[in-house]
Symmetry: C3
């Protein structure tokens, strides 16, 4: 593969992943759907798996309402491109703030994705991760905990 | 635009942003000033906006003394280059440790920057973000909280 | 240096660093050893320094058992390539969860690495960092703290 094409593909796949994460945390579900091919599958461990894009997107839309503040940041892209297919390993750090449940969750995981180049650019064909750790804390243990800003996308 | 020039511009703009964040957290204010053009503007939301580089730098220098430990890490660069201009979306995670106020602040935001290519390389023309969330906790709720190292740049 | 070769070298060095961090947190010590040249040195500050790859790897293997959950994520690569040598500045965020000691440590640091191109690709010749801050909290102050997942690599 031509090295310049390879570098461009790697950059495009990174931006695809960033769009997936940005639209997830901003709850822009229509834009979120567009990063996947319709047949995309997902597997977030602990039995949370999806057989199609629509299943995955509907679940996120239903689960992550305006009172669930999420942060999903992915690091350390190890992208391997093979023609119109690619794989990607990423290191996730995530937080979920659930003020209604007085709960903060944080964790980390390694993503293993598969990508495919379509007529409209690279898309996610499979996404999934395995956690290295996950922890929860009740806000009741830290009564001073104050969400000073969290309505940007409410 | 030639794809190699494009890739080089993207890499240079990323390094410019990293210099901005590194010199901010290390409080190297003279180096921090150099990442901006003199006419640069800034808008960090909640009314915190600046009409020039000097205004912005002077504010940071005055606000972030040695007893304010900050972490500003930016992720997910979505850089779009158009000749000698470029835009960048980034996903910030930040923390501010204020031992004198017994306070820890943490949050996240999406940056939207504008860059311009000058005779000395790419510079920031506008920087600003909108928060997705921000939370504070008093160290008094976690009396064991101990800053074991924090004087690297004191 | 040819700009395409430069961009490829930068991408390879990033992936080398990600492999170092991934194998560290997944405790894959044999793979971890392979990112270094045998003569590699390390200096993590506070007197924690190593004169060879084996010294460094043996220390990590002995110190980071299955009940020490670690997160090491590096950001903001500022890589400078000069032929078959390169330097890299990175911004680390790390956490260490020590359930047996009821302790959580978190901190940040700036890495300054040196890399060398060998017959098998880029390797780490020197790695080291200086912390900007480090803090510890006892889990006893937040009795609800629950490690819900943390055995992926146990």
């Amino acid at each position: 593969m031509d090295p310049v094409e390879l570098l461009l593909a790697v950059e495009e796949i990174k931006q695809l992943k960033y769009r997936y994460l940005r639209t997830l945390d901003l709850k822009c579900w229509d834009d979120f759907a567009e990063v996947f091919v319709p047949s995309a599958t997902g597997d977030y461990g602990e039995g949370l798996s999806f057989g199609s894009r629509d299943e995955l997107v509907d679940f996120m839309r239903a689960s992550l309402g305006p009172r669930m503040l999420t942060l999903h940041q992915c690091h350390h892209p190890e992208i391997v491109v093979d023609g119109d297919r690619a794989t990607g390993v990423w290191y996730l750090e995530d937080k979920v703030l659930m003020p209604d449940h007085r709960l903060v969750l944080e964790g980390a995981a390694f993503y293993e994705d598969r990508y495919v180049r379509t007529g409209e650019g690279w898309r996610i064909e499979h996404t999934g991760y395995r956690r290295t750790y996950e922890a929860t804390v009740s806000m009741d243990d830290v009564p001073s905990y104050t969400l000073t800003i969290g309505k940007a996308y409410a």
